[in-house]
Symmetry: C4
Subunit: 213 residues, 4 copies
């Protein structure tokens, strides 16, 4: 009875993109609210101010990391949606699940920043990365099997998107597994993987321009 | 005298969509601000951390529920606007009323989460669902009676949209009525109805693929 | 020297619309953060809960009023931009001033809600309405005198937009002036004017359908 | 192996624009949350209310300044993107770095407002302006050297955009250097430069209309 309604729902990919951009924008700026400047009354000299700001370093690192993670997933979702011709009800709900995991990222990044000594914090943060990645993977598989992908998308692009998610998630999982040995090592590996996905190709291309394209 | 102005106001459905997406995006991420992680000073071991996170369970459940409800209404509004060709001043204000009820949803969901034992909290939450649904219903009726619907919309789609809202709201009302018997049963029924609208058709289709289309 | 840069800046009306929708969306949902539910520990029965919610009434009224005001200005800006063909650097900055006054609206509405007994609070709230209205008026005058308005805009529409702002602002000013007599009367008149601009024409048309168009 | 993926990522400039507008919108309204009205219990007369609001003056000034800075960078980014035909993976990440510096602006502006007496606060604020400007400059250089600029962009526009950033940043740097002499003078110069970029050309044109175009 509700079949017809389900067929007409969720067609508009533009609105899904707009909602996603809004959620990413709010999430990216939300964590700044957590950075509390030192109280003006407690600061009596410039060196006290600098010292007060230096004690905020863990918060700055967490903020930078959270922004980086959000940027990676935003770029990943955007690449997918660029190759999808048409939405559907199920695709919409897969992306809403993806966005749900995105709204949790600032929280799990903060959890990691405050309790970096405990493997449980690393594993919860990793679970969040895994959930977001799994939803993106599911989204692409769904679009692929339901014929929602743009006809002009070459098959190697389809494979590249899946491979990309697979490799990134494998590296995250390997990094997370290190938390049982040393939690700081685990976090360092995850951050290095993220930095690699954000900036390294640009650097590599600059160095190797012309040689390996 | 203001008639001409009223005729030219509110034509732009794109801006209404963009405002809606912004409001939904903020509302969807706003409740995360309410989830307070345990204070770092009070945590001295990993088991204390896990216990501290476990005591937040009601907040997680409320957050999940709020996101789910917002997703359902977002998908519903999007489906409608996809079939409306042109806006009007009155339609704009009906949707602003709808968006007003949406901005209240995080608050009423939190009220429900904190005071689930009292029928009044269930009824207030239901009143919010009812208001949002009524506005969507009014919007469609208005668009239908003022010739704002796209000419290529088949008549059965029009009926399907009304029926959908009617059935969902009847189920919500039935669930809410149970609060005089047991409030937890009432909440459980409402959540089940919501899960049904969000995910169940996908599962049903997966199971019955080919048999009942 | 910077003249060329000034000529190429601010052409994109779509981005101005998107920024405006974002600011309105955040402002519309921001005030909900100010509504604090009664603490769960202080509530021991359903009647205490209802009483606790009832004492929040002023906050609900302020929220409703703030949303209404934001909706009116959003609809007004949208109507203008629909008739403007192209942006310019100066127009962009006029609208940024307009948006600045919009971000202050939740604050001045709250000021009014908390200090309704003092004429100063009413006058500050009115000053905010006046600033937003003046910016919209300036925007239209600027677009009109610099040939930015769509060629297909009939001259009577141009006059209607100016007249609309003029009449609304005159009514607001008259209402605000009453604050020296009775502040509550002043607020009541301003709210009635706003309700008139939001909903009354719809009601009037429903009653007079067919007779006076 | 990931080369193909890197080639297909980040093509969609519309989504980058939408994300940017969302981040600017949230940042522009976020600082209002920091303005705390005087508590209703501590105010017993209208003169106390006015006095309470007057003591908030530094917060108002900081808010105004923050909005102004954000407006300048928003207008600058918009002008650039209007002349870029197509995105790329690297361009996306340059703009994400730009947006990261934008989300820090409310924080560094508040730091400046609260600790205006210390050169370190002025220098940190300036470092934030410098970072945002450097990212915009890099973005344009990158687009220029990778053939991403619209073919219809005249060469003098390209030069104008670089010159604009260069001059503005030189003036900011000169202003910031004054902080070792007098911090208030340093802030005053930076604000004057910003006001010049926001509003002065409009005034100049009004005065010199017809004479120097």
């Amino acid at each position: 009875m509700a079949t017809l309604y389900n067929r007409i729902q969720g067609r508009n990919l533009d609105r899904l993109s707009a909602l996603s951009d809004g959620i990413f924008a709010v999430a990216m700026t939300l964590l700044v609210l957590d950075i509390h400047l030192p109280a003006a009354q407690s600061i009596h000299s410039q060196s006290e101010l600098l010292h007060g700001l230096a004690t905020l370093t863990p918060q700055w690192v967490v903020y930078l990391m959270s922004f980086l993670t959000l940027g990676i997933f935003w770029a990943g979702q955007q690449t997918q949606l660029n190759h999808i011709a048409e939405g559907s009800r199920d695709l919409t709900w897969i992306h809403l699940c993806f966005l749900f995991s995105i709204t949790l990222l600032p929280l799990s990044t903060r959890l990691l920043g405050e309790f970096m000594l405990y493997p449980a914090a690393v594993l919860l943060y990793w679970a969040n990365l895994l959930l977001a990645g799994a939803m993106l993977f599911w989204s692409w598989k769904h679009a692929s099997s339901h014929g929602l992908i743009r006809p002009d998308t070459p098959p190697e692009v389809q494979a590249a998107i899946c491979r990309r998610i697979g490799i990134a998630q494998s590296l995250y999982a390997a990094g997370a597994a290190l938390c049982f040995y040393r939690t700081w090592l685990s976090v360092a590996v995850i951050v290095l993987v993220q930095l690699n996905y954000a900036g390294a190709p640009a650097i590599r291309r600059h160095r190797g321009a012309g040689s390996s394209s």
